[in-house]
Symmetry: C2
């Protein structure tokens, strides 16, 4: 089958999201104003607006850091309240050196600061945590969009992660609904008839990275609509998380 072009459409006009907001309604309104049909494609939504809508926000002023958090904060030159929140969100420390805290979260993600972002608007510092269950967040959003008449579509929640060995951040998927996370080419043939054995592509991470091209932090684009990708299968993001016992870097 001949591949056709893919279109990445930034959703404009999503206002600052607050706890309890109906994110699906905000996304639908933004799609209407952005030439995105929300049918036969994949909607990528950045974690920050999902977390905010779900109230996954902690005011730094409300946090009492432990002695351990104070010690680490002093060592690493950080806000002890931030360190305290990061420690609470950490299931296991994978590496802690050079002031960098690489943690495994309760969900099983390995990332800096257990995914806790600081937002320091003057006078109102707060931290944004990852959603409790990003797959459930994606599924709720998708269900609401389908109920409103959109679809078929896949929904991804994306976040910006660093990686070993390479500088710079990339966007990856942390939640997934209505699309298979892995595009499994094993068993298909390549151009000369050899059976492919290892080409198991992280489809949702490639989609998140593509969407990330439009999610500049200062551009106000927290969601991107992707057209031209086959929306097939289903599954949750745990299919993408390597079994720690098989992992050579944990």
């Amino acid at each position: 089958m001949k591949a056709a072009p893919i279109r990445l459409v930034p959703l404009h006009g999503i206002p600052a999201v607050r706890a309890g907001d109906d994110l699906a309604a905000l996304l639908r309104a933004a799609a209407r104003g952005s030439d995105a049909r929300l049918s036969d494609g994949v909607l990528v939504v950045c974690q920050k607006v999902v977390s905010k809508a779900e109230g996954r926000i902690v005011r730094l002023a409300d946090v009492e850091p432990s002695a351990e958090a104070r010690r680490i904060a002093a060592e690493d030159g950080k806000d002890p309240r931030h360190v305290e929140i990061v420690m609470r969100e950490t299931a296991r420390v994978v590496r802690h050196a050079h002031g960098v805290w690489i943690a495994e979260t309760r969900h099983g993600f390995v990332c800096a600061n257990a995914g806790v972002d600081l937002s320091n608007a003057p006078g109102e510092g707060y931290a944004v945590l990852l959603p409790e269950d990003p797959d459930a967040s994606a599924r709720r959003l998708r269900d609401a969009l389908l109920a409103a008449g959109d679809g078929p579509l896949g929904v991804l929640v994306s976040d910006t992660f660093g990686r070993p060995w390479r500088e710079g951040l990339v966007d990856v998927a942390i939640g997934c609904a209505g699309i298979a996370p892995l595009s499994d080419w094993r068993g298909r043939s390549d151009l000369v008839g050899r059976t492919l054995e290892v080409t198991n592509m992280a489809l949702v991470d490639q989609l998140a990275a593509a969407a990330g091209l439009l999610m500049g932090k200062d551009a106000g684009v927290p969601a991107v609509w992707i057209e031209g990708v086959a929306v097939e299968g289903d599954g949750d993001i745990h299919a993408l998380l390597r079994d720690p016992r098989q992992d050579l870097f944990r």
Copy 2:
């Protein structure tokens, strides 16, 4: 500035590439037949066709494996000639366990099998190595396209890599010309006026991943044209390779 949509266009009709082929001419012809203008955008070309055009191919029948390669091949259930080639392309072994060989290449990439792909068409097994200097490959391609009247454009050479912690492969850039590899948002302000300090996006890896959505191994699409991305700056891929002394996973 309001972000506009991005279009990813697969380049169809590129024939099987052989050593010495004029890859720029093949890409221009494919672009003409695929509605891709090769102006104001980024051309992503998969490593395999670049390597083939550059003759970076070794016939397995011509390889005499060392005793060490035979021992490892027996242990890992692999072809000793493949192991021999992988060892020659390896500057340093980062991990070797569970039959997986994660190597640092001479270029500084960390990847499985030092980037050596096997292609086992019946009766003519061979290995495809990474280009000697993928930045130079990208620059030669770009220079040839500019000389033919195309551009302005960036050119990337991409390859498919695994990663720690997450299953599935993603496409990343291994060579770069005419575009800055990192999109540096540090010093810009976010939506509430806070100066961003850490958002240093691996722009060329996000572009390679986006292109990878169309580079299914069985789809015959070894190149993708990306429109709607600002082509700014320049630099080579080494800006993306973390200093091993700063790396927590090497």
